[in-house]
């Protein structure tokens, strides 16, 4: 049903791995509404308010980012993406104390009329941001919240660009493990 779109994702991910940042940005933008629809469907099935979907979406995006080296470039991207998404959805529902039966089609099927706009803003990532080591927190704050580039962040915090990159990556990994151990 979404075949053409999913082929496009594979191409974008290949380009992203080769260093094409705009392609990576387009890919993440393109999958987000699909992930959101899937998360909402999962929440609805578990009898949970669907407007909590954004935290799940962000958790999935973070895992996609940090685990993208486990994607086999010879395989299509969508099945890998949906496997990550299902894992994170199951975790999220489990944390809410539900017995869950995640339908394997929650993510791979988009129903017409699914709302794709962000509803209630996510709070979990922001909440964990303040518990990171100061360096990583400052770098993430600057790039994620204040919209600065790596270069601007380096100048502002008197760090080298290399150090900013390292702190950024460690900060993102730290956020992911905090979300996991919640």
């Amino acid at each position: 049903m979404r075949g053409r779109e999913e082929d496009e994702w594979t191409g974008l991910m290949l380009a992203a791995n080769a260093g094409d940042n705009p392609a990576y940005h387009r890919l993440l933008k393109a999958v987000t509404p699909v992930l959101r629809a899937g998360a909402r469907r999962g929440l609805a099935r578990a009898g949970q308010p669907v407007d909590q979907s954004e935290d799940i979406v962000q958790d999935i995006l973070l895992a996609v980012h940090l685990k993208r080296h486990t994607w086999d470039p010879k395989a299509p991207f969508a099945p890998w993406l949906f496997a990550i998404a299902r894992n994170k959805l199951i975790d999220a529902l489990r944390r809410r104390g539900r017995r869950i039966f995640v339908n394997i089609d929650d993510f791979s099927e988009t129903l017409p009329g699914d709302p794709v706009e962000e509803t209630v803003p996510a709070g979990e990532v922001t909440a964990h941001l303040s518990t990171l080591p100061p360096r990583q927190r400052d770098v993430l704050q600057s790039i994620a919240v204040d919209n600065a580039s790596i270069k601007e962040t380096a100048a502002k915090l008197s760090m080298t660009e290399g150090a900013v990159r390292v702190a950024l990556h460690r900060g993102l990994s730290g956020l992911a493990s905090k979300l996991r151990s919640e």
């Binding site: 940042n21 990576y24 993440l28 995006l61 685990k67 894992n87 996510a122 790039i143 990159r165 996991r180």
Partner: protein
Amino acid sequence: MDTENLIRTLTADNPTHERPVGQSLLIGLVFAAPVSVVMFMMELGMRKDVMTAMRNPFFDLKFVVTIALAVSAIAVSLHLSRPEASLGRWAWLLAIPVGLLGIGMMGEMTMPNRTPMMTRLIGNNSRVCVLAISLLSLPLLAAALLALRRGAPSHPALAGAFAGALSAGLAATLYASHCTDDSPLFVATWYTLAVVVVAGIGALAGARVLKF
């Protein structure tokens, strides 16, 4: 933080790549192996008649079987480190060490003048065997789990069990050079028991540490 900001941040981090899980596993095992080797040399050491033993095909078969187990378990645990992977037909890789051992047992049955079955089965060292393989595998198991944490297994306990099997396979390769019990029947019983124990430990640990 809204999702748009998160996406922008992840894009800024795109140039930073993690190394493939296989590479991490290789590095981990290369660092852990000397620990197991030192443990082995200090407590056990090779058997004294190792030069003569090498001419016994059943002595050599032990290494073929344990290495086959290690290699196939490495392949399966790397496969399972991808989120969309399930065990499925990959389980058949385990048929390689099991089959080799089966051939060995059949070969032994056709030998004239063999010692009684129960003697071969019980051997001289069964308790040491299970204990030594289990202990020697622990440094390797820790390294394997640490490396596999970089993966994204949807079945963390299963991936942990195969991390245990690969560690036990490598540890058994070491132990085999100490052990004077060469009967495939002995190997099939006691080595297998050790592998099951370590795989169990791996599964328990994996369920906790391999969730991504």
